[in-house]
Symmetry: C2
Subunit: 227 residues, 2 copies
């Protein structure tokens, strides 16, 4: 009796597995081909199920699309908050800690499959489903930014940074560490590990040059110190 293994609801088992596999394949196809260009037959084939199964599970192309967006939004937000939880509140080396944090943010939230897919769907179909993406807007950027801002405010309060407006600083931090990846993102590409590291390094150095306390913590600040 392996009853313990199955969940409490009756949908047997493979039922849910297929549902997930359909949503995953749909995300991929919607991103590649756009909503109008996405073909249910292709989604079914890519998911390894029959077309009828897609309709059994999701009823409708539009409902399937909504399920995809909700799924991606949820996973992305979870990833973002999990990563923000690793923010260096008590940094040993501020520059290297912030660089490592920026790399984690990029790798786990922005460059990964879910992040790239969600971003593309928002850009392509955001205007067509206002309420769907309004939800993303509130849950995602809104809460992300204020959570990150709170972390920076704490760093400033502890004397590691000199910040006027933590919300502005948080947005600028993200903009800076992604500054050199914009073109790659624009074309839907995946930056290499080295590009991510370089962009994060350059971004954090500029960020610290602007917001860092002048304790001459690292080498780069030499140019500022000789004044």
């Amino acid at each position: 009796m392996k009853l313990g293994v199955s969940p409490d609801t009756f949908p047997p088992r493979s039922h849910e597995a297929k549902r997930i596999s359909v949503v995953d394949a749909a995300a991929s196809v919607f991103c590649r081909e756009g909503y109008a260009g996405a073909n249910i037959d292709l989604i079914a084939a890519e998911a390894g199920v029959s077309r009828q199964t897609v309709y059994n599970h999701h009823g409708d192309k539009e409902k399937l699309f909504m399920a995809v967006v909700r799924d991606l939004t949820e996973r992305c937000n979870a990833g973002i908050f999990a990563t923000i939880a690793t923010f260096p509140d008590q940094p040993t080396g501020l520059e290297s800690d912030l660089i490592a944090f920026a790399v984690r943010m990029n790798r786990n939230c922005i460059c990964n499959r879910d992040g790239r897919f969600l971003r593309k769907l928002i850009q392509a179909e955001g205007e067509r489903y206002p309420e769907l993406f309004a939800e993303w807007r509130e849950q995602g950027p809104g809460r992300t930014w204020s959570a990150l801002a709170a972390r920076f405010a704490r760093l400033a309060y502890a004397g590691h940074l000199s910040i006027d407006d933590p919300d502005v600083a948080a947005r600028q931090f993200l903009a800076l560490v992604n500054a050199e990846l914009q073109t790659t993102f624009m074309l839907g590409g995946m930056p290499t590990e080295e590009e991510v590291l370089r962009s994060a390094t350059n971004g954090v150095r500029t960020f610290l040059a602007a917001f860092g306390r002048r304790k001459a913590p690292a080498a780069r600040q030499a140019a500022l110190a000789h004044a």
Copy 2:
């Protein structure tokens, strides 16, 4: 004899006007609906011509799409270089001059119709037409960034800024002055004049805090000066 009015080439007159009107309408529809969802009948209606005229001029949905992208790329690049030509090489007030430049850049190149349309087409269809957007990549970001980097290098050489790598500084400048507009851009929206100004102001201040010579040029630097 109004011969002087007509251009030197023989295509009568309204011919070219309709061609432009078709490309404009096509840009709008391709952006709104995506390539697959774009309907030639709708493009024709929006351009105020018959469907047959669209085919007479451009032959094909794909050729029409290419014409749209080429058109937008050309106009955007022209606008970007025209705006870079207004870069403050001999600034009177560095902060306010850079803010004004950033606002011009946003208004004339990034937020205007052509800029938003081109960005969305690149994001949505960039992977499907690699050679078409490779051209954009070389002509656009590549040349834009190095042109802007050269201007910043000159400012640094003249003693107004302290910059290690002008290419990095140029990319970070653009990232900073757009930092607060990302969400709006993502959803294809048009930021207000006030949002553009605020983002540019905050971005330039941080940029100068990082790269400015410490002559205490403005008020904001007070926080740095008391050290």
